[in-house]
């Protein structure tokens, strides 16, 4: 207890030094500083306190207090604390200093806030990041005075994309068989060697955040959050529900939390199996792909049995879950897991013995630890580069504190390490489900009556298969006032540049696949357009490549 107090004092002291104020609510430390001190405070948190930068959130709080605000979300993984660094911005000419020099990982979210809300960031090169090029200037969709269904009359010109005549440029995407999602990578090659990478993504922007703040109610947003991503959707809806519950200080039944954790792990198993299959497919080992997906089919059946749908489970509500796990389902789950474990181990051994798989995965797409730290990468990508972080252990949520598990960490940072992290995690997930099924308490699964007060803030990190999902909620009247989502791929894509540099072209699809990119998660806010190589160089210019 003493130690915890000291740690909290540290943050209070920090805010006092910066001329701001701090308040503590549960596991969240709110620090408000004047904007001129923002960079100093962020730098101190990131470098000195070794906090993990997650994302920044711009909010239009003009209807509440007349200001725009920007909140940088940090987490103190060693002490299980969320640290929110907030500053107010004048509404007439919204300008705030950029923290990208201190925290390189903040690059994208600042540009997102610029395009969404029209907040200018000083001390960095701004670039038109958001929305299609034809989008009218000065129209910022996340501002409260813009209706959610306002569609400016723009019809994209039918531009030629994948037929660059310039030799030496290999466009990967937007429709590329290795991606299964529309994203655009332009690889500049010399012969068969990649010398530079240009990324243009956010084709999957669907305006989710705005939708969650306007058309929907608290309960409906659960189903929307689930559709941020079809693979790790349950992580998103759990994260949203947990964030709202945290903000409203709801006492959710334990049994519901257990069920959430169990389903989260089922989802992790299916996601990792899926990834393994896709990785084998990219390596041309189709038989491995088919067999991995064959054993995955059992997990899909299991998911359907527990929740009613193979994906986008739709069982999360604020205050609990909709489907219970009875004795019959419990036995069935254990049976499926036993069979899965047996088949999985044999199969993985065979698949990893294929010479092409080993040879092509090891030593390619290396992400050194320093770069990984600087860019605040997430999940297996971080754990393969020797960063030991896992939100399930560091910031325990749902029922994870009742399970004991190992967090696999590899230090090589190459594609094989990322593969092995996932292989190991799968086994751990199966063990977690068994433990939780064993300990599941009796009781209700849904909170019947509750109230969500307005103006509260809730932040939650949930460890998705690809890394930490971050949901930030400001409660409003009947629906969230502000809902910010950050998916792990958002932090991992900038690291790709480091990984792809000076690598053979043939490895590029594998390396891109190795971060398990989930673009639909990443793109939920707006369409980011990378319109120049210079910005990229500036971002990673300071890194050793």
């Amino acid at each position: 207890m003493e130690g915890e107090k000291l740690i909290l004092d540290k943050y209070i002291e920090l805010s006092r030094d910066m001329g701001g104020k701090a308040s503590i609510e549960g596991d969240t430390v709110h620090i408000i500083v004047p904007s001129e001190k923002l960079v100093e405070a962020a730098s101190k948190l990131f470098n000195e306190y070794q906090c993990d930068f997650r994302v920044c959130v711009g909010t239009d709080e003009r209807p509440l207090n007349g200001y725009f605000t920007i909140t940088h979300i940090f987490t103190d993984n060693r002490n299980g604390l969320y640290v929110l660094l907030k500053t107010y911005i004048e509404p007439q000419d919204p300008k705030v200093p950029s923290i990208t020099n201190a925290v390189p990982g903040a690059d994208w979210c600042e540009m997102e806030a610029r395009d969404l809300l029209g907040i200018e960031f000083t001390g960095r090169t701004p670039y038109r990041l958001v929305l299609p090029p034809e989008w009218p200037k000065g129209l910022h969709p996340l501002r409260k005075d813009v209706p959610y269904n306002y569609r400016p009359q723009i019809r994209g010109v039918s531009e030629k994309v994948s037929t660059t005549t310039e030799t030496g440029v290999i466009p990967i995407g937007p429709y590329h068989p290795a991606l299964h999602e529309p994203e655009y990578f332009e690889l500049y090659v010399e012969g068969e060697k990649v010398v530079d990478v240009k990324y243009r993504g956010f084709h999957v922007h669907r305006g989710i955040e705005k939708l969650g703040e306007t058309r929907m109610t608290y309960q409906q947003v659960n189903f929307l959050a689930e559709r941020i991503c079809g693979i790790c959707g349950f992580e998103h809806s759990s994260c949203y529900a947990l964030a709202v519950e945290k903000a409203a200080k709801l006492d959710v039944p334990e049994r519901a939390q257990f069920i959430r954790s169990i389903v989260l792990e089922v989802e992790r198993i299916h996601s990792h199996l899926l990834w393994l299959g896709v990785a084998f497919h990219v390596l041309g080992y189709d038989t491995g792909f088919m067999h991995v997906w064959r054993i995955r089919e059992r997990v899909m059946y299991l998911a359907e049995l527990l929740t009613g749908s193979r994906k986008t489970y739709g069982i999360n509500l604020i205050g609990g879950v909709r489907r219970d796990i009875n004795e019959e389902k419990k036995q069935k789950t254990l049976e499926v897991l036993r069979e899965l474990e047996k088949e999985y181990k044999g199969l993985i051994e065979v698949a990893l013995s294929v010479p092409q798989v080993r040879k092509r995965a090891s030593g390619t797409g290396v992400l050194p630890r320093e770069d990984a730290l600087k860019l605040s990468v997430e999940g297996p990508t971080a754990r393969a580069s020797g960063i030991d972080k896992d939100a399930r252990r560091d910031l325990p949520y749902a029922a994870y504190k009742y399970a004991s598990f190992r967090v696999p960490v590899y230090t090589e940072g190459d594609n094989l390490a990322r593969l092995l992290v996932r292989v190991d995690e799968l086994v751990e997930s199966m063990a977690i489900i068994e433990q939780l099924l064993d300990k599941i308490p009796k009781g209700p699964i849904l909170l019947e009556k509750y109230e969500i007060p307005e103006g509260r803030v809730g932040v939650q990190v949930v460890e998705a298969p690809r890394g930490g999902d971050v949901h930030f909620v400001i409660t409003g009247h009947g629906k969230p006032y502000r809902w910010r989502v950050r998916a792990p791929t958002y932090s991992n894509i900038p690291a790709l540049r480091v990984m792809l540099r000076d690598q053979p072209l043939a490895d590029a699809p594998l390396t891109i696949a190795s971060i398990d990119p989930c673009f639909s998660c990443t793109d939920r806010v707006l369409i980011v357009r990378e319109n120049g190589r210079r910005e990229w160089l500036r971002l990673t210019g300071g890194l050793k490549i």
């Binding site: 309960q219 067999h291 064959r294 065979v350």
Partner: protein
């Protein structure tokens, strides 16, 4: 020896394959492998639906919509937009919506994807103006709440008028008539 073993190892996939055999389920010639919990298309029972619109409010993707016209209130279910969350089943007050395990919804005609339930809108007995409620809704309210049919079949304006009239009658006589 171990070197040879390492080289031979990939061949073991043949053992895996022969052990599992063919797992393919010959759908559509065979029953598909679906768990009993699967959420498929919903079916709205027109004999039970009262057209209250609770499902419309709960539906996240607006697959259920209430289209209001002069004298009709139509509940439209667009299965092409449905996310099969079954929230409507949770909220339906009369249990008119039933979940099925039907997923064979493919079609080449978009019009096949729409279901309609057309409700009549009630006319106010007093002034003849169309009110928001459907006939079924009024019946439902009559069963559940302590109101008389006489009160129920009037539009809110007329109710107010009657109420004010009633009170003023008690005090000073009918409103609007100079005495």
């Amino acid at each position: 020896m171990s070197f040879v073993k390492k080289i031979i190892k990939p061949v073991e996939v043949l053992v895996v394959a022969s052990k599992t055999g063919r797992v393919t389920i010959k759908y559509p010639f065979e029953e598909p492998w679906i768990s009993p919990e699967f959420r498929g298309k919903i079916e709205i029972d027109p004999t039970k639906c009262i057209g209250c619109g609770a499902c419309v409010n709960a539906c996240p993707p607006n697959a259920l919509e209430m289209i209001e016209s002069e004298d009709k209130k139509t509940l439209r279910y667009f299965v092409g937009r449905c996310i099969f969350c079954w929230r409507c089943i949770d909220v339906c007050p009369v249990g008119a919506i039933k979940g099925t395990r039907n997923f064979e919804l493919a079609t080449n005609d978009p019009l096949d994807l729409y279901d309609y339930i057309v409700h009549n809108r009630v006319k106010c007995r007093e002034c003849g103006k169309v009110t928001g409620e459907t006939t079924r809704m009024l019946k439902y309210v009559l069963e559940k709440a302590f109101v008389t049919e006489n009160y129920n079949n009037k539009c809110p304006d007329c109710r107010k008028k009657i109420f004010i009239n009633a009170i003023s009658m008690r005090r000073t006589g009918p409103v609007g008539e100079k005495t």
